[in-house]
Symmetry: C2
Subunit: 209 residues, 2 copies
């Protein structure tokens, strides 16, 4: 679990404002999560998420003092690009990034909760499918949904997935899942806070790709 | 056809050496070809090809005087990375790029030759499938092959595809195809020359993704 646990998300302050710099540092370790899935089919998703992060980082770097929190960025873009906003810039990148983050959250939570296919206890398709249905499916047209179902066959066995999360070290399933639960505390709070911000700022869109 | 025809590939010299700078300039217009397919499903392919071009350009820029031809690059990498070569650097990027270029070549050739599904004359699935089978299928495992078959449903109608190739101008099918044939002359010669070079240098690999 080194990969994830070494890079814990930070505690949120009481007002749930997310510090841009700390957030970018924490999510920079997320793309390699998709390497844990063990098939180069997922490198496509890795680059999509990488693209989101790069876009947010580029905006932040233009004026770190102005864009201290993620909300500062989204609000500044609402001012600057009234016509296209929110389908623009870092607002759009974070809109999609949060869905990828939610996907990962629900997948890990489902594993931590012991949800499993009793007939195939070493498969994680049921967990991936739950994460997909809750985080992404409604934003995908039927072709991408069908591609998801095909790609599901490239998912790793649970044992290999947990081993990869633990950086290749053999760990007991229970130890690994305890680490996952630990990781999920701040991670889930952060993802929830981004969703809440998008709702509050009416920055959410529901077009499909 | 402006998009393609405005950016003709150059005549090859008698020794078929491909000038790196001219090649990079010509292929830089290729990624937008995938926008002609009209669905964001294909943006994934666009970025893969974009990545290949970026990688070759980065090597060229390090020492333009040393890397005058594409063969100069491949040979220099064979020297520098004996152990991993040819699965490395611009050699690997060009190995995949040429397959994407071949895919486009065969698709356009098949259209220019009038190959069609008599029952669905306004679909180009038969042309895309031919291109896929000749250029890419053998390098794809069954999951990516199955994803290809799903993605095929996102292919545009022939009329829309030809219109997009003509930059949105209404042109007669025959005029557009005449332009395609014109484009294919130097384009095909260039792609053939790259394939020949990979054979001669034993730089070709046949692993699947
Ligand atoms: C040769 C044959 C091949 C044929 C072609 C096949 C092509 C297959 C393509 C399948 C789709 C791959 C997934 C990528 C989907 C992406 O399209 C979406 C939207 O992507 C967003 O789009 C925006 C514009 O609308 C901006 O460009 C965003 O970019 S911006 O930064 O510029 O603003 C960008 O992220 N992202 C998503 O849906 C996010 C996906 C997140 C992670 C999902 C985890 C799923 C895990 C599944 C496990 C089983
Ligand atoms: C949320 C749900 C989503 C679930 C996830 C879905 C994911 C779907 C992924 C499908 C595959 C998309 C196509 C990309 C395939 C690529 O994997 C391959 C190899 O790509 C190469 O790999 C190398 C390492 O082996 C290097 O990294 C190369 O990079 S390097 O530059 O670093 O050296 C790289 O190009 N390229 C290819 O096969 C090339 C494809 C060329 C164009 C094909 C045209 C087809 C048109 C089809 C029309 C119908």
């Amino acid at each position: 679990m080194a990969l994830l646990l070494d890079n814990q998300f930070k505690d949120l302050p009481p007002d749930k404002a997310i510090d841009t710099k700390l957030f970018l540092e924490a999510v920079s370790h997320i793309p390699s999560f998709f390497d844990c899935l063990g098939s180069n089919v997922f490198s496509v998703i890795k680059s999509d998420i990488n693209g989101n992060i790069t876009k947010i980082r580029a905006v932040h770097m233009k004026d770190p003092a102005k864009y201290v929190t993620l909300q500062d960025i989204v609000e500044a873009e609402r001012e600057a690009h009234a016509a296209e906003w929110p389908k623009v810039g870092a607002t759009l990148a974070l809109m999609w990034l949060k869905r990828g983050l939610r996907f990962i959250q629900i997948l890990l939570q489902s594993l931590a909760d012991g949800e499993r296919d009793e007939n195939n206890p070493n498969l994680i398709r049921v967990n991936i499918t739950r994460a997909y249905e809750q985080a992404l499916k409604r934003y995908h047209g039927w072709i991408v949904q069908k591609i998801f179902h095909v790609a599901l066959h490239a998912a790793p066995y649970k044992s290999n997935f947990l081993k990869a999360l633990s950086k290749g070290e053999e760990v007991k399933e229970e130890d690994c899942l305890a680490n996952v639960r630990q990781f999920l505390v701040n991670y889930t709070a952060t993802v929830d806070a981004i969703y809440e911000m998008y709702t509050n700022l009416k920055a959410e869109l529901d077009y499909t790709v």
